[in-house]
């Protein structure tokens, strides 16, 4: 099982790297690739990251990435995969703000401020599990069904010990998700301001 765990982790990360490549390609292209093409390309690129390429590298490319990033949370991976490969509804701004607030409240204490360690709750706290479930229900009520699926998969992955971690936090949150949420929320604010400025110019009294 442990060997499989290592292989699955590398497959997951290889696919994530491939999806990031697709995202970059999409950014540079003037048109959107069809969903099927994106998925096929992602699988092809994932092979590039999964198999050892030789040269002076003893490990596959994804293992070098894994050395730097560790295993990404299930929520991060699935959000990225679905956002890039499918054509889903955009991620609500409320979710991004929620991630920012949780990260700001969580990381300082988890990294050594005071004697309270919220990270330790992730090993077996029913309260944390209930909080994640309530968050998922709130996303569903707000009509963002994708989050319900993703959080449900994350909880199942944690309960079957899919990754090396036995901590629920590692399945639902990671620093990359928090940084992305912060960047996306700030970007959204910037866009809104721009739009406001433009509309103000158009309707300003002459």
């Amino acid at each position: 099982m442990d060997n499989f765990m290592q292989h699955f982790a590398l497959i997951e990360l290889s696919f994530t790297c491939a999806v990031l490549m697709i995202w970059l390609i999409q950014k540079m292209m003037p048109f959107q690739l069809p969903v099927v093409a994106r998925i096929i390309f992602a699988i092809l690129f994932a092979n590039l990251f999964f198999w050892p390429l030789g040269f002076s590298m003893a490990l596959p490319l994804s293992a070098y990435v894994r050395g730097l990033t560790g295993d990404l949370s299930v929520v991060t991976s699935l959000l990225l995969w679905t956002s890039v490969l499918l054509n889903p509804k955009p991620i609500p701004l409320g979710f991004k703000w929620a991630m920012i607030v949780i990260a700001i409240a969580f990381y300082p204490f988890a990294l050594g401020v005071g004697m309270m360690d919220p990270y330790a709750w992730g090993y077996g706290s029913i309260a944390l599990l209930i909080a994640v479930l309530i968050f998922a229900i709130a996303c569903g009520v707000a009509n963002w069904t994708r989050a319900v699926w993703i959080l449900a998969i994350a909880i199942i992955a944690w309960s079957v010990h899919w990754h090396e971690s036995t901590n629920l936090w590692d399945y639902v949150l990671d620093p990359f998700l928090a940084i992305w949420a912060l960047w996306a929320a700030l970007y959204a604010i910037g866009q809104k301001r721009k739009e406001k400025a433009r509309s103000g110019y158009l309707f300003r009294a002459g």
Binding site: Y107, D117, A120, A152
Partner: protein
């Protein structure tokens, strides 16, 4: 409709999640060391004359620590077995560090240490050798694992290897915890572990312990693991990046299944734990404080088997930001090996706890370059203590980063020393009246 299906799936996840939590082991009491009633103050018939106690002399550090000092028992006791000094076998590596020990089933002792061109170099490997107490000699050193072996086992890039710490699992197998770094300095460390079914001759695939939410960065290990009553291990670990603090990690197999913070902030790492009973324990730390703060040993205590820890008053012994080693013997004697100076690591001593008191006394000066000019002083650091039979003590420590020193303290010597210490306490207390 799709939302309904999603909620049904969430319900399934919730059920699995609750079942998973329900299957988690509850926190267990400490496994108590089987203790004999301390007879330390009673001199046994036929024993050698006691080592003479002398008044506290010289060093500033000793005065600060309010300790007394025993003249070397080596010189004063003739028939009591004396400590034996030797070296761990050389691997020809220019730099060696962080030795640790574990008792094997046949009574011999296996040592682990890391060696390479320099600390943190990619060529650093984890070495091991076995000490045979019958012949009092070390086997040839072997390589347990190198950086490439760790990389392949963990399926990720590894830049360097660090501290190895062995432990005995409840099922009799050996487990070796090793610090590994993928990026940056030691602050970027994680802990990995391997299990051996043949007393350390061969090792299984390494596996990563996940202990930190920030890319699992900055968890290290130095001190020996303790055992809980349910057979699981408690690994005293520490962080040294954003925070510098200790943690007790509960380990099951090769996974961290819970952990508790032992200190906070940026001032204490490398906890060494003394267990008092099934619920109570105290941890002594290496201090990492700012230069303006006290250079003493930080202490934390628990009264609920490590589920929560409270920071207590510092132990009044100087600490120059260097590791300490702690050991409880079967008869209740407690010893520590440490650098009892405020700066540098050029003096290493053994201190012993007086029976029934919180006072510590220097009983043996192991190394002392105090008299040498600064530039000639050598480093004596990273002590690790082990008792093979519950009464004796093996000590290993880094000797100027070039060699690993091994000292064996026979049970009779330790008992004699404790006895003298308690006699002196009695004299002191009567004098005070």
């Amino acid at each position: 409709m799709s939302r309904l299906i999603a909620f049904c799936f969430l319900l399934l996840a919730a059920v699995l999640g609750f079942l998973h939590i329900d299957s988690r082991p509850i926190w267990a009491p400490f496994s108590e060391p089987s203790q004999e009633i301390s007879q330390a103050s009673e001199s046994e018939e036929g024993q050698a004359p006691a080592p003479a106690l002398i008044a506290d002399p010289v060093t500033k550090a000793d005065k600060a620590a309010k300790v007394t000092k025993i003249a070397s028992p080596i010189a004063s006791s003739i028939s009591t077995p004396q400590p034996k000094f030797d070296w761990l076998p050389s691997t020809e590596a220019p730099s060696v560090h962080a030795a640790s020990l574990v008792t094997l089933k046949d009574g011999s002792v296996r040592a682990f240490w890391f060696a390479g061109s320099r600390e943190g170099a990619p060529d650093v490997v984890i070495n091991s050798a076995v000490f045979d107490p019958k012949t009092a000699s070390w086997s040839d050193p072997t390589v347990v694992i190198d950086r490439m072996g760790m990389e392949i086992g963990l399926s990720r890039y590894i830049a360097k290897l660090g501290n190895p710490v062995p432990a005995r699992l409840a099922d009799g197998r050996l487990q070796l915890f090793v610090v590994t770094v993928s990026m940056g300095g030691w602050a970027g460390s994680s802990i990995s572990s391997m299990i051996s079914d043949d007393e350390g001759k061969s090792w299984g695939r390494p596996q990563r312990l996940i202990t930190s939410p920030l890319i699992n960065l900055s968890t290290l290990v130095k001190s020996p693991a303790l055992t809980f009553a349910d057979g699981r291990l408690g690994l005293p670990a520490y962080h040294e990046w954003i925070g510098r603090f200790g943690e007790l990690i509960r380990v099951e197999g090769s996974s961290a299944i819970d952990k508790r913070r032992m200190s906070s902030g940026r001032d204490s790492i490398q906890p060494a734990i003394f267990i008092d009973d099934a619920q109570k324990a105290s941890a002594f730390f290496r201090q990492t404080r700012a230069s303006s703060q006290a250079k003493k040993i930080p202490v934390s205590i628990t009264t609920n088997a490590g589920q929560s820890w409270q920071v207590a008053d510092d132990l009044d012994i100087a600490n120059p930001n260097s590791a300490i080693a702690a050991l409880s013997l079967k008869n209740g004697t407690r010893i520590m090996v440490l650098n009892n100076i405020e700066a540098g690591r050029h003096r290493l001593v053994m201190v012993m706890n007086r029976s029934g008191s919180s006072e510590w006394t220097v009983v043996q000066v192991l190394e002392d370059d105090e008299a040498l000019p600064n530039e000639q002083r050598r480093e004596f650091s990273y002590p690790f203590l082990l008792s093979a039979d519950g009464g004796d003590a093996h000590l290993v420590y880094t000797w100027d980063r070039k060699k690993i020193r091994h000292i064996y303290f026979p049970a009779a010597w330790l008992k004699q020393t404790q006895s003298e210490l308690d006699k002196q306490s009695l004299v002191d207390s009567e004098g005070a009246r």
